[in-house]
């Protein structure tokens, strides 16, 4: 079976190579059969890699510890759920998993478009095959997950070895979210390959018009949605498991996942400029190239220990492969753009500073600035060592100083941008659309300031959140009212109908609303409190309106871990409200200490209590309590974001139009049969997203 798995991977590499070479040959000779066979080989990669992944999972489920990777990342007693997830818990397996997701995307991209876009698909197939060749090379020759324990003796005979028990999965990863977080993030990282492939293909094939953007819009949304969910899940995991009271530390590995998300977000917005106005063609192509390269860079940062020297003590040579690949991708992209740059001429110019176009331009400008700042800060130790010879790192103050104003400006644009007209917006329209949302925001801000809300960034954030929320709801209300009065339906039904008629626009609004929720949660961190103290039974710790009284400490030992636990009774306004049990475990097999945080969560605040260890001086237990307002809004925003992304990917409802027309005819006898229902919605509301 291990041989079969290895063999499938080797065949997959050959299939990808064939797909690449035959694809190029087919494009050059214009022979349909050759192109077809290249495509089929590209699709075959998926089945071969699927077989290899299945084989590795089979080894995990059957506790086959003759495989080095299985022995390293699993043990017999590990729950099945985690045996499954152990596939992506180490270098080799996660790279294989990566390749598999990539091949899945490639398969669907090739399969769903098999009879479409004959001028574009051969190029896209070649690019997809090229990327897969790189990852399959790693899987086969650099980090092979099917390496067996044992060795080869002098006579050349292979000696199999096997251990009776594996090392087990890192306890930090034995947490349900760690099963789902890496696949989400990987789906994001790999998903950006599809728009990249189509953009490069369109450029290489000088494919006319904006069609590649239409073809890849849903793919980009899928990748973006997964990336967002992956980032939020990672933040939640860090919050719930690592026990330092926060969810984001500007750690290089976190930044690595944020970078392609930022450029991906910029791309999702700026493509509209190209679709509607034929502008920003070069920019869009480079945004999608950059997003893909940042995905590769993220993989490089995560795996090589280039930057995160703080925690990655072990170095890995695999980084050099990624550096090489990154350089190659850049050269290819640059060459493709240079040769075909005349094809990307812009159709239009910017007409007015107060227009949808300029809001998109500012959106892109600050997103790119944020991306650049995060990239710069992350790579600073490497860059400074090159330039001045000493390794200098920057911390959270750097990232926060730059990114908080950017985030607030983006929030402002989120409210303003969608309501500005293309080309030019009149002052009257501005007044009509923004007067009362902005008034509402400022009113709430004034009230908050009177009640002692003094942190300037948090206050601005609050005003903007109210403003953006009001503009979004006003948009829904305006459109829904028209439909409701026309169909005689209630507002709620009309809102659903409105959303389904233009899923991209209204799904986008829902995503904007999700971002508002996330921002509210992040702004809450301005009011975080924490108290740390040594406690003995009977001691009390006060934080906010809570009072924690230590009942006792206990210790338990079992075969798996030694644990120290505190029992704390929580009082609020003099009444006992709950018990919390923060715990610290030392896992014997892996020699790892893990904190079991006690979190009492509510929409208003989280009470987050950590058993921090024992005081070095007195040996007494130390309890660290945090009061984190509004954190829950971030996770709730994540759910809304998934909903919005899902809606934005649905096709617009068109087929039911006839039904509506019939109904109206029966009721009113006045509607024009078969007229598109969207036409009744005022022009401002529909279609011009």
């Amino acid at each position: 079976m291990d041989i079969a798995g290895s063999f499938a991977l080797l065949l997959a590499l050959l299939a990808a190579l064939y797909s690449f070479v035959a694809g190029i040959a087919g494009i050059l000779t214009r022979r349909t059969l050759l192109i077809k066979s290249a495509r089929n080989a590209g699709m075959a990669v998926f089945f071969l890699v699927t077989f290899a992944v299945g084989a590795l999972e089979y080894f995990f489920f059957t506790d086959n510890f003759s495989l080095a990777y299985v022995a390293e990342h699993s043990n017999r007693a590990l729950p099945l759920f985690y045996k499954f997830a152990a596939l992506w818990s180490g270098q080799e397996g996660s790279l294989l998993f990566w390749t598999w997701l990539l091949s899945t995307y490639a398969f669907f991209a090739l399969f769903l478009n098999r009879n479409k876009h004959p001028e574009l698909m051969p190029f896209a197939g070649v690019v997809l095959a090229g990327v897969q060749i790189f990852f399959l090379t790693l899987n086969n020759f650099v980090a092979n997950a099917f390496t067996i324990l044992g060795g080869v003796d002098a006579a050349g005979a292979v000696h199999m070895a096997s251990v009776s028990e594996g090392h087990g999965l890192n306890p930090l990863l034995q947490y349900p979210e760690m099963v789902i977080h890496p696949p989400m993030l990987y789906l994001g990282y790999t998903g950006f390959t599809v728009p990249f492939a189509f953009a490069l293909a369109a450029l290489l094939g000088r494919y006319p018009g904006e069609k590649w953007i239409h073809i890849t819009r849903r793919w980009t949304m899928i990748a973006w949605g997964f990336q967002s969910v992956g980032i939020l899940l990672g933040a939640h995991w860090a919050y719930a498991v690592l026990g330092w009271g926060g969810y984001w530390a500007w750690d290089p590995v976190e930044n690595a996942s944020l970078l392609p998300w930022i450029t991906g977000t910029a791309f999702l917005h700026s493509v509209m400029m190209q679709e509607k106005r034929g502008m920003l063609k070069v920019w869009n192509v480079w945004l999608v190239f950059t997003t893909f390269m940042l995905c590769i860079l993220g993989t490089l940062l995560t795996r090589s220990g280039v930057v995160s020297s703080v925690h990655a003590f072990a170095q890995s040579s695999i980084g050099n492969w990624f550096v090489g690949f990154l350089a190659l991708v850049f050269v290819v992209c640059f060459w493709a753009w240079w040769v075909n740059r005349d094809y990307l001429r812009s159709d239009n110019q910017l007409d007015s500073l107060v227009s949808r176009e300029s809001s998109f331009l500012f959106n892109n400008l600050v997103l790119l600035a944020a991306c650049f700042a995060v990239l710069w800060g992350t790579l600073f130790p490497v860059l400074s060592e090159w330039v001045v010879g000493s390794k200098i790192s920057v911390g959270p103050p750097f990232f926060n100083k730059v990114n908080i104003p950017i985030a607030l400006f983006l929030l402002f644009l989120t409210g303003v941008g969608p309501l500005l007209a293309w080309r030019k917006t009149s002052f009257d329209a501005l007044k009509r659309n923004f007067a009362w949302p902005l008034g509402g925001g400022v009113a709430v801000g004034v009230i908050a300031a009177i009640f002692g809300f003094r942190d300037i960034y948090a206050l601005v954030c609050l005003i903007l959140c109210v403003f953006v929320t009001l503009t979004i709801f006003a948009e829904f209300y305006r459109g829904a009212r028209v439909i409701a009065s026309r169909d005689g339906s209630n507002l709620l039904t009309a809102t659903c109908e409105l959303t389904m008629r233009n899923t991209r626009r209204y799904g986008g609004y829902i995503i904007h609303f999700a971002i508002v929720l996330v921002f509210i949660g992040i702004a809450g961190s301005a009011f975080n409190k924490d108290v740390q103290m040594e406690m003995a039974p009977g001691d009390a710790l006060s934080i906010g309106s809570y009072k924690l009284i230590c009942q006792n400490f206990d210790q338990t030992n079992n075969n798996n871990f030694q644990s120290e636990r505190a029992t704390l009774e929580v009082f609020q306004h003099g009444r006992s409200v709950m018990m919390l049990y923060p715990e610290r475990r030392f896992y014997l097999a892996s020699q790892v200490t893990e904190t079991m945080v006690a979190i009492e969560t509510s929409p208003l605040r989280d009470l987050y209590v950590v058993y921090a260890g024992r005081s070095p001086e007195t040996g007494r237990p130390v309890i660290h309590a945090y009061l984190n307002p509004l954190v829950k809004w971030i996770w709730f925003g994540g759910l809304v974001l998934v909903l919005g992304t899902g809606i934005a990917m649905l096709p617009n409802r068109r087929t039911v139009l006839v039904l509506h027309a019939e109904k109206e005819k029966a009721w009113e006898g006045a509607a024009v049969p078969g007229a598109p229902a969207v036409a009744v919605v005022p022009r401002k509301v529909n279609g011009d997203d």
Binding site: L173, A249, E254, H311, A312, F313, S393, S590
Partner: protein
């Protein structure tokens, strides 16, 4: 003024603002990495920088005092006396022979005053040379298995 010129002016203002903010953030949080042997050759203002130093905890050197923990870091035969004055408990992996990373300042008496200590258990690292414990998997699992102190906490 032409629209494009206006846009460029607006962009210039935004970029300049962000750049100055970035500079302020940089000066507030920059931290130098040094090896123990480099510390001896530092001069002038670079002696007062915030820095990170890594090394191995010398066997038997850890002593708990009132308000601080003293120990000695060693690397390539050089030694550095360290006083940890942070308020967080030391990570459980911090023990004799562990690989440790300290962050803080060099005092004028040559002793390093650490506000943060991260440590990785040496025995595990040697027993499992292939496991790459620090750079674990999964996008965001940031600290990996063996550093029990998270860099973001202060």
């Amino acid at each position: 003024m032409k629209t494009q010129a206006k846009f460029l002016v607006g962009s210039g203002i935004i970029v300049a603002t962000l750049a100055s903010l970035a500079y302020v953030g940089y000066t507030q949080s920059k931290t130098y990495y040094h090896t123990i042997s480099e510390l001896g050759s530092l001069q002038g203002s670079s002696l007062h920088q915030r820095m990170r130093v890594s090394g191995y905890v010398q066997n038997g050197s850890i002593s708990h005092l009132s308000g601080q923990v003293d120990f000695v870091l060693q690397e390539e035969g050089k030694e550095l006396p360290v006083s940890y004055i942070g308020r967080d408990p030391l990570p459980d992996t911090f023990k004799d022979g562990a690989q440790a990373l300290v962050e803080g300042n060099l005092r004028s008496d040559g002793r390093f005053q650490a506000e943060q200590v991260q440590a990785k258990c040496a025995s595990k690292y040697e027993a499992v040379p292939n496991s790459n414990p620090g750079e674990k998997k999964s996008g965001q699992a940031p600290t990996g298995a063996d550093t029990t102190s998270y860099p973001g906490k202060s």
